[in-house]
């Protein structure tokens, strides 16, 4: 009996020491790739995502939420959002700025987050930011009423069609106010002009396309099999997209049309919430090649 117990303890000690040694080797040899172009492993992603969700849930407990139904409050929030938030998070039909597409984790589509988060949680994230994500803390940048005004606007965001967002922002900008930027926005979003001389490599490279999908923030709106973290239900899920007959509900699903849709969705359908992300011809062709593996 005593012998058995001793060997069990020895084995346990050996395993713990082995695991620690392996951890130290992985850490100091620099095996873990920190490149933003390499998504985390699935278990790491799950761990971080779950930790983030639970932490926000816990820390937002007990926050008193004021009345957010005043339209003037949401209007103030829209004003702030369209100046401070849209660069990273985009808006209905408007792409984030190119630099934001290169972030890992990629900034979330808030029309989706808002439906999953309480107002207290949104306020907490806005005020405190989130470590290692690129989300800044606004506590020392915005006043308390302004923080809540952004939350009030966010509550409206999922119910705004792309054209409604654009017309509301343009209405704001046309009011004379020296503190605001006077440039009206267009629904075409940020124009990130790609080199027109780069011809698509035909046929596309599906493996490269898989990485390009992460770099164009596709995961913030679509569920895509095989891509870590692609669970957002903003637009349609892309399971079996290779055999789907129509793109966007009206375009025949051919490789040419797919590449064109990826590159200029709003030319093909001016009212779509899918933004123009400045996808280059080569990247679109590679993304299409990956999508066509999803049968």
């Amino acid at each position: 009996m005593r012998l058995k117990l001793r060997s069990v303890i020895l084995l346990a000690l050996g395993l713990v020491t082995g695991a620690l040694a392996a951890g130290v080797i992985v850490l100091y040899a620099g095996f873990y790739n920190v490149a933003a172009t390499h998504q985390h492993f699935r278990p790491t992603f799950w761990l971080l995502k779950t930790g983030l969700r639970e932490s926000v849930e816990r820390h937002a407990r007990g926050i008193h939420v004021p009345t957010l139904t005043d339209p003037a409050l949401a209007q103030r929030g829209l004003d702030l959002y369209s100046v401070q938030c849209v660069q990273c998070h985009g808006a209905p039909g408007i792409a984030p700025q190119p630099f934001a597409l290169g972030l890992t984790p990629v900034p979330t589509n808030l029309a989706h987050s808002v439906r999953e988060r309480s107002s207290a949680e949104l306020y907490w994230v806005l005020k405190n930011g989130i470590k290692m994500t690129g989300m800044p803390a606004w506590e020392f940048r915005l006043s308390e009423p302004d923080l809540w005004s952004v939350v009030a606007f966010l509550r409206e965001l999922p119910y705004l069609a792309p054209e409604q967002y654009v017309s509301r922002v343009n209405a704001l900008r046309s009011e004379p106010d020296v503190n605001r930027s006077q440039t009206p926005i267009s629904s075409a979003g940020s124009k990130f002009v790609s080199d027109p001389n780069v011809q698509p490599a035909a046929p596309g490279d599906a493996e490269r396309g898989k990485r390009a999908i992460e770099q164009y923030a596709c995961v913030t709106c679509h569920r895509i099999p095989g891509i870590v973290g692609a669970h957002a239900p903003v637009g349609p899920p892309l399971e079996r997209i290779a055999t789907r007959q129509l793109i966007a509900g009206f375009i025949a699903n051919t490789p040419e049309n797919m590449v064109r849709w990826l590159r200029e969705p709003q030319t093909m359908h001016p009212r779509t919430a899918m933004p123009d992300l400045g996808v280059t011809a080569r990247d679109a062709s590679d993304i299409a090649a990956y999508l066509y593996t999803l049968r």
Binding site: Y159, P233, P236, E239, R240, T243, A248, G249
Partner: protein
């Protein structure tokens, strides 16, 4: 002392499990704005042939892949890529898709208001 401690532990585990199970068994409350009958809606989705174009969980033979799959459609932010997803908008879309988006391939199937509301009640269960 030992025995009663162990018994207490088991009781706690049993109560927690029972609570968790009853919690899971409860059907989610209907979101506001839903007036229709979900069971009837499920039947109607089959009767109008929605499954010829859409994959719809729980609806027999609805495995179409012409338009988008309707898995977790209740959580989707936009309908048809253009319309914010609310029960009222979904009812409008089902009844007159081409009035909302003239380009859509989704046909007007002459769905009545009450039939559309029943369908919406079922589709809003898909989270």
């Amino acid at each position: 002392m030992m025995v009663s401690d162990v018994r207490l532990l088991f009781q706690c585990v049993a109560i927690t499990l029972a609570l968790a199970l009853t919690g899971c068994g409860k059907s989610a409350p209907q979101p506001p704005g839903i007036a229709g009958d979900p069971e009837r809606g499920k039947l109607l989705l089959r009767q109008y042939g929605c499954g010829a174009c859409h994959t719809i969980p729980g609806v027999a033979a609805a495995k179409g892949n012409v338009g988008p799959p309707l898995e977790a459609i209740a959580a989707r932010v936009y309908l048809a890529g253009v319309l914010p997803n609310t029960p009222a908008n979904m009812t409008r879309w089902i009844r007159a898709p081409q009035e909302i988006d003239p380009r859509t391939a989704m046909p007007n199937l002459q769905v009545s208001e009450s039939h559309a509301q029943d369908m919406v009640a079922y589709l809003y269960r898909l989270r």
